[in-house]
């Protein structure tokens, strides 16, 4: 009887998760042309597509960009999110309303955020360069120079990720009993000591989950980078996600095989992070 209620979802998962994933693996193992993509009959190519991708000169830089993008985004999102969560835990007039307003960047469609940041960072007319000009710094080609493009997309992505970190860490802070702090206040601990000796250790499980979920989300990020820089200029802000898209859909002649291969490498990374996440959550349950 229970499976009667579950059956639609199971069928759905098979048809709209398992099957697209299977098609994606199949794409990566065959040599597709536009014609055989439509009509079928592409020859089996084994791991050729993976070999093509791994020996492509763009592979190592793209992997490095993916790691830098993910690492830097996580560090800044988490640190700023934690600082804001600690600040908002002290209840003051309007704290609830302001905390809700800070959620806005997380709720906006990514294309809205990405195009707003594109204009803010515009070389000639952007507000950021105008502000830098006031303090005497020369304009920076945020989106059009290979030196700065990766930094630019990281800035936008950090902005979008802060609210998520704030909300989750804030709810973790709420779970710490007040008595713990009262005891330490009697011992005369300073605010900084309290953070490092009480808050941070007690918040470790929630922090781990926040970071791991952040890792999984950040590995997936595609929209922001594609809309702001298209992974360019000259691949300087390309990650595995944008590279996969470029191979499959970005050129006149699509290369579905290598595109799917890059996608599958990405999924392996995401799943490893996912399994670590699930294991750490199980451990937390058992405690």
């Amino acid at each position: 009887m229970a499976w009667g209620f579950l059956a639609p979802t199971v069928v759905y998962l098979l048809a709209f998760y398992a099957y697209p994933l299977y098609r994606n693996v199949e794409l990566s193992l065959r040599e597709y042309t536009v014609r055989s993509f439509v009509q079928g009959g592409a020859p089996f190519a084994g791991l050729d597509n993976y070999r093509t991708v791994l020996t492509d000169p763009a592979f190592w830089p793209t992997l490095a960009h993916t790691l830098v993008f993910t690492g830097a985004s996580l560090v800044f999102q988490f640190t700023i999110g934690m600082a804001l969560a600690l600040f908002f835990r002290q209840h003051f007039p309007l704290s609830g309303t302001l905390r809700a307003l800070i959620l806005v960047p997380w709720l906006l469609p990514l294309i809205v955020s990405a195009s707003t940041w594109s204009w803010l960072l515009n070389s000639d007319s952007g507000l950021v360069n105008a502000a830098l000009g006031v303090v005497g710094i020369d304009p920076v080609n945020w989106l059009t120079s290979p030196t700065w493009s990766l930094t630019s997309v990281i800035i936008a992505n950090v902005w979008i990720g802060i609210p998520f970190n704030l909300v989750v860490l804030y709810s973790g802070l709420q779970a710490i009993p007040v008595e713990v702090y009262e005891a330490s206040a009697l011992d005369g601990a300073s605010g900084w000591q309290r953070f490092w000796s009480i808050t941070f250790p007690l918040l470790r499980p929630v922090s781990a989950i926040t970071l791991l979920l952040g890792l999984i989300y950040t590995l997936k990020v595609f929209d922001i980078i594609w809309i702001m820089t298209r992974g360019g200029p000259t691949g300087s802000s390309a990650t595995l996600a944008t590279w996969s898209y470029r191979l499959g859909f970005g050129n006149m002649l699509p290369e579905f095989g290598p595109g799917a291969a890059v996608g599958n490498l990405l999924i392996v990374m995401a799943l490893i992070a996912g399994l670590v996440y699930i294991r750490s959550q199980r451990r937390q349950y058992q405690r």
Binding site: A2, W3, G4, F5, L6, P8, T9, Y12, L13, F16, P20, L21, Y22, N24, L27, F37, G40, F88, Q90, F92, P93, L94, L98, I102, L103, V104, P105, L107, L108, P109, L110, I111, V112, S113, T116, W117, S125, L127, A130, G133, W159, F164, V167, V168, V206, L219, K220, F222, D223, I227, A241, S244, Y245, G248, F249, A260, A270, A273, G274, I278
Partner: protein
């Protein structure tokens, strides 16, 4: 330790400044949407739309209404399909404890971690074969994959909290499982249905990757593609681009105003259990 009212107000001021900094890009988007073309590249930039224009919004009315309509329809379709699939599944996982239930929950967690680009490529290959590229149902189906795993997990978490006595009372009254689900479980699950619907709508409304791969070449293009084409085509009309962005942000604003507590619930539900 008592904190004086003055110290508390000082914190509110800091809070206002921090929130202002975080939301500044949003303000800038609104400001630019009202800026006249000739002021767009002014140096220094105009911080307030003192000589404001509605040209940007006129362009939205002239050019973007079909895109907005498509997004709205796709959003409604996504909500309907997501709730229809996920609510019964959540009920089964929470209350009927089927064999294999935990394994299914595990798969749903994993499903949320699959990068969109991979799903998009798989869907593209399948849709091309089936000939449903650039159709509304095709886009709706793809967009539901953004919401269904999350929705099942939310419903499961919420429905676990329904007291068993309530369900047993219905059974005593002679109701079958289906009737219990329909006339007891669903009505008391209103909050979770609202949460799921809001997020499903917002995610499908915001979707760019499925739109650009599965609907990029047809008559049914959502608003995310409307903005994207704008950026690509008329690089000069930033007031029109930003006006469209403002309009495209309305669902997020509505969601925050109407359902603030559900939003926090949804954000944390995926991350923190109990």
């Amino acid at each position: 330790m008592t904190t004086s009212p003055r110290r508390v107000w000082w914190k509110t001021v800091v809070g206002l400044v921090l929130t202002g900094l975080m939301l500044f890009p949003v303000y800038w988007m609104i400001n630019v949407s009202f800026t006249r073309d000739q002021d767009m590249r002014a140096d220094p930039p105009h911080l307030f739309p003192t000589d404001g224009t509605l040209d940007g919004y006129r362009a939205v009315l002239d050019q973007q209404l079909p895109y907005l309509g498509t997004s709205f329809l796709v959003g409604l379709g996504t909500v309907a399909l997501t709730v229809a699939l996920a609510a019964p599944a959540g009920y089964a996982l929470a209350k009927l404890r089927p064999p294999g239930g935990p394994a299914l929950s595990f798969l749903l967690l994993i499903a949320q971690m699959i990068p969109g680009i991979i799903m998009a490529m798989g869907f593209y290959a399948i849709y091309l074969t089936l000939g449903v590229l650039n159709t509304l149902p095709g886009l709706i189906l793809a967009d539901t994959t953004l919401a269904v795993p999350f929705a099942v997990l939310i419903f499961t978490a919420f429905m676990s909290g329904i007291p068993d006595e309530l369900l047993q009372a219905a059974v005593v009254d002679g109701a079958g499982r289906l009737r219990t689900f329909w006339s007891v479980v669903l009505p008391v699950s209103r909050n979770s249905i609202v949460t799921v619907s809001l997020f499903a709508f917002l995610w499908s409304w915001s979707d760019f990757i499925f739109a650009s791969t599965l609907a990029g070449g047809g008559d049914h293009q959502p608003i995310t593609l409307g903005i994207y084409h704008y950026i690509g085509n008329n690089n000069q009309q930033w007031n029109a681009i930003m006006a469209t962005a403002v309009v495209a942000s309305i669902p997020a604003a509505v969601l925050l105003v109407l359902a603030q507590r559900y939003v926090s619930m949804g954000v944390t539900a995926g991350a923190v259990k109990d």
